[in-house]
């Protein structure tokens, strides 16, 4: 009996996979999900474990928001200053305001700022990663495991479109985070005002795609081009999560336009 039950469950799972509605046109993403007004409209391979690149920072800023105090300052550690990839060029010992590190992490996807926030929250990155994985378990992210705070490739650093959608929903409940993500540019500086940094949003949709109001982009060689995009246009809210794309912005613009157009046919 139990054996038959397992077979039936397996069949249902296979059928669900086979009949999940993909978009009616070709996109390059390995996995994606499109929600219109909080209702899933199209999806593809949403539980596949893939490298999430800088979308990891959604978890980082959500953990920060649990203890957020914009007045606090952080002294940049040597480990944070050594961060690679996208970075501000922070120096070890330099003092930054938490709110500026948050802005740099979200708008510029700066890994040194992100690392500094992890240090600030948990003392160092390894302890912060334990916290990230603890929250992932608590939030039911079954296909997510982190090995670093900012999204560097690692065999054990993975997530799924489904789990990223869960994180995106939690971010959507944080107006302060959304406000930062919607900024196309922003100037920040270190605490003593001796250096300034011009931030330009890495999310190319901001200011270019009608109604794009935020979320996060990411890229690593293993992850490909990743994106969580939030669009609010004429009362319609569209959330797009896509992992491992090669033609991200054009794909995203097409998907978002298509989703908006389709929302009027419902």
């Amino acid at each position: 009996m139990r054996w038959w039950f397992l077979i039936c469950c397996g069949c249902l799972s296979v059928i669900a996979t086979a009949t999940a509605a993909p978009l009616p046109f070709q996109v390059q993403a390995s996995a994606y999900l499109v929600e219109v007004d909080h209702r899933i409209r199209w999806q593809h391979q949403i539980n596949q474990r893939l490298a999430p690149a800088s979308l990891t920072k959604l978890m980082t800023v959500l953990l920060l928001s649990e203890h957020y105090d914009s007045r606090q300052t952080v002294t940049i550690s040597a480990a944070a200053a050594r961060e690679t990839g996208s970075r501000l060029g922070l120096r070890a010992g330099e003092v930054m305001r938490v709110e500026d590190l948050l802005a740099a992490s979200l708008i510029n996807s700066a890994n040194d700022a992100c690392h500094a926030l992890a240090d600030h929250i948990a003392g160092d990155q390894s302890r912060f990663v334990r916290l990230m994985n603890q929250r992932a378990r608590e939030w039911g992210l079954q296909n997510t495991h982190f090995t670093n705070a900012c999204g560097h490739d690692d065999v054990q650093h993975y997530s799924s479109v489904q789990d990223m959608t869960t994180l995106a929903h939690k971010v959507m409940a944080q107006p302060a985070l959304l406000e930062l993500m919607a900024r196309r540019t922003l100037q920040i500086g270190n605490a003593d005002g001796t250096r300034h940094f011009d931030l330009t949003n890495k999310n190319a949709l901001i200011g270019r795609h009608e109604g794009a109001v935020g979320m996060k982009s990411g890229y690593t060689p293993k992850a490909g081009k990743c994106l969580v995009a939030l669009v609010q246009r004429a009362g319609v809210t569209i959330l797009l999560v896509m992992l491992h794309d090669t033609n991200r912005w054009w794909d995203a613009a097409d998907i978002l336009d298509f989703a908006y157009a389709q929302s009027h046919h419902d």
Partner: protein, 338 residues
């Protein structure tokens, strides 16, 4: 039921006391009273004048509704002395049955009719007295019914004409197409539906469209931004296509790429091919051709756009929606071990 009642009343009651033409037929004053079962009070009696063919006052067929849609028939007519009785049935839209009787003389009559319908039973009592002469062909109930119908049709047409004139003035373009009357099942609904359209006012609307198109960019855009207006403008003649070409040439000269993207496919496509296809998203969208670059949706083989990290480009993992079905099939195969 209500229509049937109106039909009966039209037979039994003259709707107006207009002048009666002199003739060889008989003018009667009729008083009737209706009672409906279940109603707490009786309806007041009504008196009116009816022109009847001479000697027909005791013909029960006079009591039948003349509305052909009701399809009423009389049966079992019995005459005994000055008393007549009959049965009637209507199989039209409001089916009913009934029976009646009357006692008549050459100068007066009285009687009653009982009707049974889905809405309940109804009793009608009536009496009449001859008061003069008239011309039945002109003043009889059928003639009056026809006149009233014609009057109603004329009023309805007047209303339609008024609506259509307003539709022209208000640029209600949808009024000028043949309406979809598939919902209308009977003749009166079809007529109501047909009256919702103004195809005969198309020339006026086409003139108005032509005037707008002659007003330059604003006038053209007012038409071009309305789907019904565009459809109608195209059906009005070649001026819309001419105006489109003129408008698009102006936008091309002025490099108004937003307007070109919105209305000028012929001019936009070459610009898209030259300035958008294959370009990086941010570069294309930040250029003057941005609106045109979005017009044609997706294309393949765009070069890599910028990433957050400075490493080499990622490997392609191009996916195919059909792949999930294949994956599903593979899973199924694995599950059953074949």
């Amino acid at each position: 039921m209500s229509k049937l009642l109106i039909g009966l009343m039209l037979v039994c009651i003259s709707v107006s006391d207009s002048a009666w033409a002199a003739g060889s037929d008989e003018l009667w004053e009729i008083t009737n009273k209706m009672e409906m079962e279940g109603m707490p009070f009786a309806m007041p009696g009504q008196t009116s004048k009816v022109c009847m063919q001479k000697g027909k006052q005791n013909d029960p067929a006079q009591a039948l509704p003349k509305d052909k849609e009701q399809n009423c028939k009389m049966s079992d007519v019995k005459m005994s002395g000055n008393k007549t009785s009959w049965k009637m049935s209507c199989s039209g839209k409001d089916p009913m049955t009934g029976e009646g009787e009357m006692i008549s003389s050459s100068s007066s009559y009285s009687g009653k009719v009982k009707m049974h319908s889905a809405d309940g039973d109804m009793n009608m009592r009536y009496e009449g007295k001859r008061i003069g002469s008239c011309d039945y062909a002109k003043d009889g109930p059928e003639a009056k019914f026809t006149a009233m119908k014609n009057d109603m049709d004329a009023k309805s047409e007047q209303e339609r004409v008024k609506e259509c004139k307003n539709a022209v003035d208000d640029d209600s373009y949808s009024h000028f197409f043949k309406p979809d009357c598939s919902w209308a099942k009977d003749a009166s609904s079809k007529k109501v539906c047909a009256n919702m359209a103004c195809p005969d006012f198309r020339p006026q609307m086409c003139d108005r469209i032509a005037k707008k198109l002659s007003l330059g960019d604003d006038g053209y855009e007012e038409i071009a931004n309305n789907k019904d207006a565009v459809k109608l403008a195209k059906e009005c003649g070649p001026s819309y296509e001419k105006s489109t070409r003129a408008y698009c040439n102006r936008q091309l000269q002025a490099k108004n790429y937003g307007k070109l993207a919105a209305h000028c496919d012929k001019e936009s496509k070459p610009l898209f091919d030259k300035n958008c296809a294959g370009r990086d998203y941010t570069a294309a969208m930040d250029s003057a051709y941005g609106p045109i670059c979005r017009r044609y949706g997706k294309w393949k083989n765009a070069p890599a756009d910028e990433g957050e990290q400075s490493d080499n480009g990622g490997s392609s993992a191009g996916s195919n929606p059909a792949k999930s079905i294949l994956d599903g099939a593979k899973n199924l195969k694995g599950l059953f071990g074949f």
